[in-house]
């Protein structure tokens, strides 16, 4: 901290407990992180196989798509919005890029870029409706969700495009580098890089500050001279691109582009964001929390299956665990003030 004797003095007199408070105060991701660590420890005790490099790499692999979606979702939620069309954009983009390079016969890089462009355009459509016509994001994305899903069904004829029919670039995200028993897929690497990039952009660039200010109080931000419309538009557009990238990763993961996946993606991605400590009212939170939130869900899903919990009870357990996880986080926050 740039300053000062006052800071230093109060600090010197602090008890250990207070120092922990300050630590937590400065690092809101520690709450979710604590939950994640506890979950990992608990599942490792229940089933030793859980805490193996192979299984952990599996968990990372399983959350990659959701985490990428949740990254875009985080940006939108930070502006006090919500995106119900995240899953639809991802799936539709994946179908489009697959069809571009198969039916339309385009070279893979072009098909990929065109797919990204389509996702971006879908995000931009959301952004336009939110900023120009000033519709609430919930209803905008509810509308575009059904629109994109229908178009998706029409365009794809509800048929899966096989990865084997696509150029290797399309399914490249599914390949992985072994690091000992840990297998890190290119998709996961892309996802982690994106998280790093946006963690930086949000905390250390003017754009990031504007996103937070807009989400915090859009009227105040406007009066302070921020072009809130542009900020919102940039956020929805960026999110669209991120969803399209998630679509690409999805092709790698499934070795195919399927129009019928992704019905749960919206709720799952929002869950990851909220578990990561980002407020649905905007302006508070960040992407690192989201990554942890996505991992928490992945760990629960995988851990419960390994623990041999019956399928009907898994839903019950996940519901319960989500509640407990957020309660713990809440409890940690309480200590702070």
């Amino acid at each position: 901290m740039a300053t000062t004797t006052a800071d230093f003095e109060t600090r010197r007199h602090d008890s250990f407990g207070l120092r922990v408070q300050h630590l937590l105060h400065g690092n809101p991701v520690l709450g979710p992180l604590a939950v994640l660590v506890v979950a990992i420890i608990a599942f490792s005790i229940v089933n030793v196989r859980f805490f193996s490099a192979a299984n952990l790499s599996l968990v990372l692999l399983q959350v990659t798509v959701i985490a990428t979606l949740a990254l875009g979702q985080t940006l939108i939620i930070l502006t006090a919005g919500i995106d119900l069309s995240a899953g639809a954009i991802a799936v539709f983009s994946s179908i489009l890029m697959a069809l571009f390079c198969t039916d339309a016969g385009m070279p893979a890089p072009i098909a990929l870029l065109l797919g990204f462009a389509c996702g971006t355009a879908m995000g931009a459509l959301n952004g336009l409706l939110v900023t120009r016509i000033k519709l609430p994001p919930f209803i905008v994305t509810l509308g575009t969700l059904t629109i994109f899903f229908s178009l998706n069904a029409v365009v794809s004829n509800s048929e899966t495009v096989r990865g084997a029919d696509m150029p290797g670039l399309m399914t490249w995200t599914g390949q992985s580098i072994p690091i000992g028993d840990f297998r890190l897929s290119y998709g996961s690497i892309i996802m982690l890089l994106l998280f790093g990039f946006f963690a930086y952009a949000l905390s250390s660039t003017a754009w990031g500050k504007h996103v937070y200010a807009t989400g915090d109080d859009v009227e105040a931000a406007r009066l302070a001279g921020i072009r809130t419309g542009r900020v919102l538009f940039s956020v929805y557009t960026t999110a669209g691109l991120l969803y399209a990238i998630a679509g690409w990763i999805l092709i790698g993961r499934l070795a195919s582009a399927s129009p019928n996946v992704g019905t749960e993606y919206n709720l799952d991605s929002i869950t990851a964001v909220v578990l990561g400590g980002t407020s649905l009212f905007g302006g508070r939170g960040g992407v690192i929390g989201t990554l942890i939130g996505a991992l928490i869900v992945g760990v629960f899903r995988n851990g419960l299956q390994l623990a041999g919990v019956e399928v009907v009870w898994q839903g019950f357990a996940i519901g319960l665990l989500v509640l407990i996880a957020v309660s713990i986080d809440q409890w940690i926050r309480k200590v702070k003030t």
Partner: protein
């Protein structure tokens, strides 16, 4: 002398409520123009129209004699008009430095700034502390505190510091000293004079008559949505001004 900022016959209605009712305003170069008036007289609405925060139903605004149309606060801001709103317009979750530099953040020098667009947080923080100290707010214990956790006066100081630091043509202050202590209030008056001495004209809305009469060159009196008089501290006394403002005395010249 062409006024720097001039409003003619501005009107603004909200449904059935008339906030500005054909009001005029002139701000001359290098002056401090005080705007006074009862609660609900339309002072804030008037300056919001000047700063782009609301679009008037009718009427004209001229900057340096040229008609202008501000569709949003950013337009006015890029024209050099810096405003402190009565509602303060701060982002509650951001810290003091972030708020002070909101919309014109400073980047690091070198490639970090140009390529990675990294903010120069350290410099912005130290600048922020300097500004706050200049305003006499010495009680600030943690410069990284979110603005929402500041005391009422501290928050107001943040908003005032911002406008003083960045205005390039006109500075508008809507009740900038309302929540401030005696010392802090006097510092803001001094700041207003400093700004004027830098050559920038200032519009000051205030209910504090001693403050108004201490710094104002001219006093615009607003009543029921329109300007009913312009006086000077030399021509009228405080009690004259209050009488005109509340309707107890007729405006001069009528």
């Amino acid at each position: 002398m062409t006024p720097v900022l001039e409003a003619k016959n501005l009107t603004k209605r909200y449904g059935r409520v008339v906030a500005i009712d054909g009001s005029d305003l002139e701000l001359l170069p290098g002056e401090i123009l005080a705007v006074i008036g009862d609660n609900g007289a339309g002072k804030s609405s008037l300056i919001k129209a000047l700063s782009g925060a609301l679009v008037p139903d009718s009427g004209e605004i001229r900057l340096d004699g040229e008609p202008v149309r501000f569709r949003n606060p950013m337009d006015a801001r890029s024209a050099g008009i810096e405003t402190v709103y009565q509602t303060l317009a701060v982002a509650p979750g951001l810290d003091i430095a972030d708020n002070l530099f909101l919309g014109r953040e400073e980047r690091r020098s070198g490639p970090l700034g140009t390529i990675f667009r990294m903010l120069d947080r350290k410099h912005m923080r130290s600048e922020a502390r300097r500004h706050m100290t200049e305003l006499g707010v010495g009680t600030l214990q943690n410069i990284g505190q979110a603005v929402e956790s500041l005391s009422g006066g501290q928050r107001q100081a943040v908003a005032v510091a911002r406008s003083a630091a960045f205005g390039s043509k006109v500075v508008i202050l809507d009740e900038p000293t309302a929540a401030l202590g005696v010392k802090e209030g006097n510092r803001v008056l001094q700041l207003i004079r400093d700004v004027r001495d830098r050559g920038l004209p200032v519009i000051l809305i205030s209910h504090n008559m001693p403050h108004v009469f201490e710094v104002a060159d001219r006093i615009h009196i607003q009543r029921l949505g329109r300007r009913i008089a312009v006086i000077t501290p030399q021509s009228h006394s405080m009690s004259d001004a209050v009488a005109i403002m509340t309707g107890a005395a007729p405006p001069p010249g009528e």
